[in-house]
């Protein structure tokens, strides 16, 4: 295994194991009653025992997360593009943007459920509500950070407004877009679970957890929390993977080429001598 893959895979794995070990140690050291807090093994055992119930619920949470995330990302990106075009749009939209995030998301969940029913829609809206903000702010920032000299260069080369936007300004936002998406990814599952807590009658991860809570099945409460966390981490990792594919210039020194043996990345830094 190369140094890089050891760093990107083994180290995060080690840190997760460390957290689990500390958790286990605390439970054992203070002799905590399993009804108060379970050990990692008991929590995972609860997940395994109820797996046939839990995995469809997890899929459902994942589905809400995906739809909401995509909707929020598209909305955030489109808003940022619109705001970057004209000052009027930006000055009009920005206060609404900030205001939307000042609304406590838990408080808005109940009105949304009344408005949109008990189906998937209110959850998707809540997730999108959370995700669009960091995306819009990051992409807008990306537009603002394009070097004005680069825009002048494009003009001097005869580039019109539309082509300059497509060739220079838009690609410059890809990196910032993923910064926003990564922030959104970690919060997206939280949004889905809030939606489930408020809207669901029982058949959801949050509903399962609430039931486990009321029947003092602490291991299942913790177990379902672990499952939600796993969905969040998985989603984040997926976004990171997409980022690596979409922004090869950040991690590679050469373009990825299709074909045999051509995908190697050179560490060689060419000198200045002709």
């Amino acid at each position: 295994m190369s140094r890089t893959s050891a760093r990107t895979i083994l180290l995060p794995l080690a840190s997760v194991m460390l957290v689990v070990a500390v958790w286990a140690l605390i439970i054992r050291l203070f002799d905590v009653d399993p009804f108060v807090a379970p050990s990692p093994g008991e929590a995972l055992g609860a997940v395994r025992a109820d797996w046939s119930i839990l995995w469809p619920l997890a899929l459902q949470t994942l589905e809400e997360t995906i739809y909401g995330f995509v909707a929020g990302a598209v909305l955030g990106f489109v808003l940022a593009v619109g705001m970057a075009q004209t000052r009027i749009v930006r000055d009009l939209v920005y206060p609404v943007l900030v205001g939307s995030q000042a609304v406590p998301i838990i408080a808005i969940a109940a009105p949304l459920v009344i408005l949109l029913g008990f189906g998937i829609l209110p959850k998707v809206v809540i997730v999108a509500w959370i995700v669009f903000f960091p995306v819009a702010v990051s992409v807008l920032d990306g537009f603002a950070r394009v070097d004005p000299d680069l825009i002048s260069l494009a003009r001097a080369m005869g580039g019109g407004r539309a082509r300059t936007f497509l060739v220079i300004r838009l690609p410059a936002t890809v990196g910032p877009l993923f910064s926003g998406l990564k922030i959104g990814a970690t919060y997206a599952v939280t949004g889905a679970v809030i939606g489930e807590l408020v809207a669901s009658t029982g058949s959801s991860l949050a509903g399962y957890q609430r039931q486990a809570n009321s029947s003092l099945d602490t291991a299942a409460v913790w177990g379902s929390t672990l499952l939600m966390t796993a969905i969040g981490i998985g989603w984040f990792l997926l976004v990171v993977g997409l980022e690596r594919l979409a922004t090869p210039w950040r991690t590679r020194s050469t373009r990825r080429r299709l074909g045999l043996g051509a995908s190697r990345s050179t560490d060689h830094r060419p000198g200045d001598a002709p």
Partner: protein, 254 residues
């Protein structure tokens, strides 16, 4: 050179910003295939002059003609390069070289082939697939010049293109630029603070006065081409440098 038709005619252009004159009425002519440098103190209006010639800034008065066409205030007729390489980090070396085509009409396979050939001929052939961040400062400026050449304009405006490079790299770039120009026959208008650089590269050096700036003297550099490093210490070169320095800094430096 003097016999060929002028590539660039600047006729009495002036420009003020917020009522403050940035450029006094300035006129100059650059023949096709000629290499002309502009030197002058900071804030003498060189950048304004460049921006007017490139069409980015409209002059208050006067006109700019390139290859016989009036292009006053209309961008898109010159190749343009700054001290900053301004390479797009998400584009490879090849992708950056064809930027002009991408910005005007879309990149074709022919554009790519021509760019690859151009780059290969001037020592960048091994780096076509590299991203800019993987290149040194000198290599990045070479790519930037290739981008300027590939835009297909015959007049190149180079605004202190080597200003950010170390002295050693800069010397290598001078020789390289000379070779590139011998191969392409481009006309170059070059802005620099470096008197050695101006004398080594140019057919003519135009010296600008202090703000608001106008051309105070024109010096022909009578050195044969291709030029070598030894020539920069020849009598003619040293005399030209002394004259330019005395114009820039007054009698104290003469």
């Amino acid at each position: 050179m003097a016999a060929s038709a002028p590539m660039l005619v600047v006729d009495g252009i002036s420009r003020a910003f917020d009522g403050l004159p940035a450029l006094a009425p300035t006129s100059m002519t650059v023949a096709a295939g000629e290499f002309v440098s502009l030197v002058g103190p900071s804030g003498c209006g060189k950048s304004t002059l460049f921006n007017v010639i490139s069409g980015l800034v409209a002059p208050d008065a006067g006109r700019v003609e390139i290859a016989g066409r009036d292009v006053t205030g209309r961008p898109g007729s010159v190749g343009y390069m700054l001290q900053k390489d301004l390479l797009a980090p998400w584009r490879t070396v090849l992708g950056n070289i064809v930027l002009g085509a991408a910005l005007t009409r879309g990149v074709t396979a022919d554009d790519r082939a021509a760019a690859a050939e151009l780059a290969a001929r001037h020592g960048l052939g091994d780096y076509l697939d590299h991203y800019p961040h993987a290149l040194s400062g000198g290599m990045r400026q070479r790519v930037a010049l290739m981008r300027t050449l590939a835009s297909g304009r015959n007049l190149l405006l180079l605004d202190e293109p080597f200003g950010a490079l170390d002295a050693q790299t800069r010397l290598g770039m001078h020789t390289w630029l000379q070779e590139v120009r011998a191969a392409t026959g481009s006309t170059v208008l070059f802005v620099t603070h470096d008197v050695d650089e101006a004398v080594f590269l140019s057919d003519r050096v135009l010296v600008m006065g202090p703000r608001p700036g106008a051309i105070v003297e024109e010096l022909a550099i009578d050195l044969p081409r291709p030029r070598t490093l030894e020539m920069s210490t020849s009598e003619a070169a040293v005399a030209a440098k002394r004259r330019i320095l005395s114009l820039l800094h007054g009698e104290a430096a003469a």
